[in-house]
């Protein structure tokens, strides 16, 4: 179980402070699929990074399976079963896809069959990719799918994905949503997915709308999707006018 208690994060701006996240508290039960959604710049990625330890909160505590992990580093949290798929994964000259999957799995003797399974689940063929370097020769979408495969290989208890759909073509996206569904159905992991995609939102047990550094709405996909739509319209005077006209 993951618990966030009164999490705040602020950065210095001139002589003052700019609040990015303000007093966020939430509990995510095991095996749940939770989607963070909301407007750009609202604080979703910062919140996810705080869970992984990539960003340190300026206030509040984080508990993972009852253990206070607020002061633990990224490595320690990873070893406690938290993993994170980056929105824009880095590239590595000299590290192959196989190297990355091997590192992620923690199994030095990771078989080709296993690699193949991970890559197939993100719509890539092992024969084409295993020995390729994760460098600039790969497209953004390919790197993104390899990033997601590395999280699957990690097989951790909590998987965080930051906009997994970004840069991925429609066919691969369909395969990806199936993979999320499968993980969810088997109950093998808790998943936090940052997403704007209705298809992914509709898979969620709970949708959390993060905006202006706070939780704006929480609820099931059926409850939240209409609210997201009305919020979206509400911020645009032209769309609001059109909506009213209808």
């Amino acid at each position: 179980m993951l618990e966030l208690n009164h999490i705040s994060y602020a950065v210095r701006e001139g002589d003052g402070e700019l609040g990015i996240l303000n007093d966020i508290s939430l509990v995510i039960d095991d095996h749940k699929l939770v989607v963070f959604t909301g407007p750009n710049g609202g604080g979703k990625t910062t919140l996810a990074k705080i869970i992984m330890g990539l960003v340190r909160p300026t206030a509040g505590r984080i508990l993972w399976n009852g253990q206070d992990i607020t002061d633990l580093g990224i490595t320690e949290r990873a070893r406690l079963g938290i993993s994170y798929g980056f929105q824009q994964p880095p590239r590595f000259k000299g590290l192959t896809v196989r190297d990355l999957l091997t590192l992620a799995s923690g199994d030095q003797a990771l078989s080709k069959d296993k690699c193949c399974q991970y890559l197939t689940r993100v719509g890539l063929c092992a024969n084409d990719y295993l020995d390729r370097e994760v460098d600039v020769s790969l497209s953004g979408g390919e790197v993104k799918r390899i990033e997601i495969a590395s999280i699957l290989a990690r097989n951790s208890q909590l998987m965080i994905f930051d906009e997994p759909e970004a840069g991925i073509d429609l066919w691969s996206f369909a395969r990806l949503t199936e993979t999320f569904e499968q993980i969810h159905a088997t109950g093998s992991a808790t998943m936090i997915i940052i997403s704007h995609q209705e298809r992914i939102i509709s898979l969620a047990d709970e949708v959390i709308v993060v905006g202006d550094g706070a939780i704006r709405h929480r609820g099931s996909a059926a409850e939240i999707l209409p609210q997201i739509l009305s919020d979206t319209l509400g911020t645009c005077p032209v769309l609001t006018k059109e909506a009213k006209a209808q």
């Binding site: 992984m52 990539l54 580093g73 990224i74 490595t75 990873a78 070893r79 993993s83 994170y84 980056f86 994964p89 880095p90 590595f92 000259k93 000299g94 590290l95 192959t96 190297d99 590192l103 992620a104 923690g106 590395s150 990690r154």
Partner: protein, 308 residues
């Protein structure tokens, strides 16, 4: 041959040798010959011109054979210049494993300057690997200044992989490859310096013949207070294609200078160079940490991959 642990370690590091190699070999140890074997097609002989070193002659049509010619120095105060000449016939496909290891526990420097000249016959393919490694805790320097000059005849190719692994205090490399018609040279250079080591690599690829191809991939890591200078140069004298790519990771207080140059003396010459120097990117470290590696393990993993 290979009578002690130091010999064994050096030979394994520089030539992947775990005992007597298969095929032709010549093992040079502390200025002397520590073992030699010719085969029916590869003939190794001492030079007769007064220079130290060997002549290696490979018969035309020799395919699938290997020749090991490592040199090791296990004592302080040795300074040697060794001339090895390779005469490779036509239509060969062979592998040559060179390399130098210096173990120095003394106060005086030991230095090995290996001068290799290759004459590669028509349509022959040569894979040449050369590793340099230094060990021992003496204050005496471990110095290696290799010179490699290659002449590729029509349709010949060379794939040259050189690497300086660790422990070489000072190195000045000079590499020159002249490609004839349809010949191709692919050079991969890996270099790691640490402490206050210095390394200089001067390279010249001359694409002389029509349809000649040249490719240089240089990857280096400079740690601590070490310094590196690269001068890869590609010259196109005919319709040809050349590509120079230099990538360096800089760490600590190190200094790196990379000066690639391309020269076209023909309108049909197509030459490209790329050079980049940078530190390990923060997001690379973070990514590997999210996979459970410590920052030190992540750094080691990135460097190992980069220099692999």
């Amino acid at each position: 041959m290979m009578e002690n642990e130091i010999d064994r370690e050096l030979l394994e590091k520089i030539a992947d040798m775990l005992g007597k190699p298969v095929g032709a070999f010549n093992i040079r140890k502390d200025t002397g010959c520590d073992g030699r074997q010719s085969t029916d097609h590869i003939h190794i002989d001492s030079r007769t011109d007064g220079h130290s070193g060997i002549d290696i002659r490979v018969d035309s049509g020799t395919v699938g054979e290997t020749c090991h010619i490592p040199a090791i120095i296990t004592k302080p105060g040795i300074q040697e210049t060794v001339y090895n000449d390779f005469y490779i016939g036509d239509d060969c496909d062979i592998t040559i494993v060179a390399g130098c290891g210096i173990h120095n526990c003394g106060e005086q420097a030991s230095q090995h300057d290996g001068v290799h000249t290759f004459h590669v016959g028509k349509r022959s393919h040569v894979r040449y690997t050369e590793k340099h490694y230094g060990s021992g805790d003496g204050k005496g320097g471990r110095i290696m200044n290799p010179q490699t000059v290659v002449y590729l005849d029509e349709g010949a190719t060379i794939q040259m992989d050189t690497s300086q692994i660790r422990g070489v205090d000072s190195t000045k490399r000079y590499t020159k490859i002249v490609c004839g018609k349809g010949a191709e040279a692919v050079v991969t250079e890996r270099l790691l310096t640490h402490g206050d080591q210095t390394a200089e690599s001067d390279m010249e690829i001359i694409l002389d013949g029509e349809d000649a191809k040249g490719r240089v991939i240089s990857r280096s890591v400079a740690q601590d207070d070490s310094s590196q200078v690269f001068y890869p140069r590609m010259v196109g004298n005919a319709q040809c294609f050349g590509h120079v790519q230099c990538d360096s990771i800089i760490m600590g207080q190190a200094r790196i200078k990379s000066i690639p140059a391309i020269t076209a003396n023909c309108t049909e010459a197509q030459l490209i160079h790329e050079a980049a120097i940078g530190k390990i990117a923060g997001d690379q470290l973070l990514k590997l940490e999210t996979l459970g590696l410590t920052e030190e393990e992540a750094e080691e993993c990135i460097l190992k991959g980069f220099l692999a």
